[in-house]
Amino acid sequence: MNKSENLFSTILASSAHDMKNSLGMLLNALNSILDALPEEHLKKSQSNIGIIQYESSRVSSSLMQLLSIYKIENNQLAFNPGYHNLYDFVEEQVLIHMPLIEARGFSCEIEIDESIEAVFDESLISMVISNVIGNAIRYAHSKIKITAEIGEYANITIYDNGPGYPAQMIEMAGDYIQGINNSTGSTGLGLFFAQKVAALHVHGEKSGSVSLQNGGPLGGGIFEIAIP
């Protein structure tokens, strides 16, 4: 990276940080306004409030992904692998989105053996999985299913019953920046980030990866991350 690019990405990172803080303040301010509002007003504005909360959490998680990518590229990320129970882990990722899952009447099924564990960086993989679940709620109709298995890799798979991933997104393995498509609202960031995080997980000769498919039991998109 040359000097001016380096400076630019540093500015980008510190701006992302600053924007994230502002967003946090906005949300806090909104929450205290909501606290003070009478019940009937709340009901009337329910869907608008939902939009503000959902969209700001999306912005917030995008900013967080940007920051993490910056840190990965500048060797500033503290990679901290540990053993984690897969059921507990996935359950929490679902809970992050619980208010929205309930509001939209989604069903979310977790099918994971409660005794299995895998080695990964909890906070990084959490950002990936939580982001995928968030997108599934956004694009799918009513159903999400999450499974996890361990063999040579630990595979976490998220199925939904939406329209599935666009063909060109599935094809461009490894080159996710091409996924930028303003018409569908997909920036490719989530996938790019997922790929980066997966690749950080290395064990012996093996390293992590991400794959997309369509179909499966729910007939929609299938996201899978494999952690060695």
């Binding site: 840190k71 500033q76 929490e92 409660e114 906070s123």
Partner: protein, 545 residues
């Protein structure tokens, strides 16, 4: 998933959050879970105070607490001052990606991290899981606190069998027990097995620690070099690396290792101090000054601040003024003066520090050719010296003597050195430096004599020959009557002999008398614990006799 139901109405909760808005929303979440006893504080200092007054079951702390201590500092202080229960759950709330916060020591990690924004569901889930885990492991932690390592070890095995889910946490506790029991081979086997499977940071650190404990410095060095490569953000790796490099006679490399850690996280008081000390040895004035400057800065909010970093900062400024004309003299002098006044204010009630500060201040005055200041601070020093009640430490005594000698205050210098030599005769590094400073030849000779007698006595003691041990300890005590170690050794030998003898009253009374000679030992001194244990035993045995 079936988990025991947590009754939040019974739990005492502390919320530490500098934004009142967010504190209120956290409080709301806890009330929704059924909590009734919730305290809210807005900064780190109040948090410590609250924990002194009340034992909490749950602590929710923001990492970022504005100008005050941060959440990690709060957690470390609560640990160090023993203000947490064995099953207190501490949740750290962060504004960004949690791993950025793993900057804190591995040893003092919170039970869980939560990244803002989050909802009540996720808070509850984290709390449920952390409380469940903490409750299960608390009996082990309690035994470890009481130093019942062997029992704790057994309990680790039982707990793993019943709760395979907490296998890793149990292994980590088991490692701590094995290490404390000095069962190094078993401890090494345990961590090596984990690392061979997966390089988990704590286990890797553990392998290196054991190599170090077994004095296999080269292997330890290799391991920590690997570790800093594999986990460049786990900062303890650099600390260990520096320690080992230093001991292997590589101070330049040691300094570089510490610099790498500080590059990643400057907010570490102890690490900055250590860097400053090594840089001083390496004659790297620039790094020395900046390290102590940072140490003073980060010490402002910390309970672990000590006079050392203040004094050392003024010393390094003095060296800069002496060494080069190419510096902003006015600015540096102002910085040193303000450092002295901060030091005197912060350690107002400690005459020892006031004395040390005045001596260093006079020394600084002589560097800036301010004769008036020199005279003023020498007289201040003399005034404080009379009020000192506790022993002056070995390092501090050397520093003070050196300054006083340079200021031409030979008499005071020699008397301070004499006291220190009497106290620390068994520290060869200290004696070597003292020998260079003193003009009194008998002083070092006497200290060597005391050391020989003390060693002979210890040998007799370990052979259970208490009669000879007591004779030698008394002889050593005659040369160095105020030496705390000899007094304690002497008393211990007397107690031992009294246990063998039926008519033991005389030995016990003699032990009591001997211990009474310890009058200037500070509770902060690392010999204090032994002193109070021996005093307690003596009283107990006197009552029974």
């Amino acid at each position: 998933m079936k988990k025991p139901l947590v009754r939040y109405s019974q739990k005492k909760v502390l919320i530490i959050e500098d934004f009142p808005e967010f504190a209120r929303s956290l409080r709301g979440m806890m009330i929704n879970m059924g909590s009734k006893q919730i305290d809210v504080v807005y900064n780190g200092l109040d948090a410590i105070q609250a924990c002194k007054e009340r034992k909490y079951d749950i602590i929710l702390s923001d990492y970022n607490l504005g100008e005050s201590k941060d959440g990690q500092q709060v957690l470390e202080e609560l640990h160090s001052f023993n203000l947490l229960k064995s099953n207190t759950v501490f949740i750290m709330i962060t504004a960004e990606n949690t791993t950025a916060m793993v900057m804190g020591a591995l040893e003092f990690q919170p039970d869980a991290y939560l990244t803002k924004p989050f909802n009540g569901n996720i808070l509850r889930s984290r709390l449920d899981k952390s409380i469940h885990k903490k409750d299960l492991l608390a009996p082990i932690s309690r035994m470890i606190k009481k130093k019942q390592w062997a029992e704790a070890l057994e309990l680790c095995n039982d707990t793993t069998k019943e709760n395979p889910k907490f296998r890793m946490a149990c292994l980590r506790l088991k490692f701590a027990c094995l290490k404390s029991l000095k069962k190094y081979d078993k401890a090494l086997e345990l961590t090596t097995r984990i690392v061979n499977e997966r390089p988990i940071p704590w286990a890797m650190l553990g392998v290196g620690e054991i190599f170090y404990a077994k004095k296999e410095l080269e292997r330890a060095l290799e391991l920590f070099l690997d570790m800093t490569q594999e986990f460049p953000m786990i900062l303890e790796g650099y600390d260990w690396l520096a320690k080992i490099q230093y001991q292997l006679g590589q101070p330049i490399e040691a300094q570089k290792s510490l610099e790498r850690a500080i590059e990643r996280s400057p907010k570490a008081l102890q690490r900055q101090k250590l860097l400053g000390e090594i840089a001083e040895e390496n004659d790297d004035l620039g790094i020395m000054t900046s390290a102590f400057r940072q140490a003073v800065k980060f010490g402002r909010n910390s309970a672990f601040a000590s006079p050392d970093e203040f004094i050392k900062l003024t010393k390094s400024i003095g060296k800069q003024l002496k060494g080069s004309t190419n510096v902003d003299r006015k600015k540096l002098i102002m910085e040193a003066e303000s450092t002295f006044s901060k030091l005197n204010k912060r350690f107002k009630s400690d005459p020892g520090t006031q004395f040390r500060s005045a001596v260093a201040h006079a020394d600084f005055g002589s560097i800036t050719n301010d004769q008036e200041a020199v005279e003023k601070f020498i007289s201040t020093a003399n005034k404080h010296y009379k009020k000192i009640e506790e022993h002056i430490g070995a390092k501090e005594s050397l520093e003070i003597t050196e300054s006083l000698k340079q200021l031409g205050q030979n008499e005071l210098a020699e008397s301070i050195l004499e006291e220190a030599v009497e106290q620390y005769f068994d520290d060869p590094a200290f004696i070597k430096k003292a020998e260079k400073l003193t003009t009194n030849k008998h002083l070092i000779e006497n200290s060597k004599k005391t050391n020989q007698l003390n060693n002979k006595a210890i040998q007799c003691f370990s052979k259970q020959d208490f009669n000879s041990a007591i004779t030698f300890f008394s002889e050593a005590s005659e040369i160095a009557p105020n030496n705390v170690n000899i007094i304690l050794n002497h008393a211990q030998a007397l107690l031992k002999r009294s246990q063998k003898d039926a008519d033991n009253r005389q030995d016990l009374q003699k032990a009591e008398e001997t211990l009474k000679r310890v009058t200037r030992l500070s509770p902060a001194d690392n010999r204090y614990a032994r002193y109070s244990e021996l005093s307690r035993l003596t009283q107990l045995m006197l009552q029974k006799a």
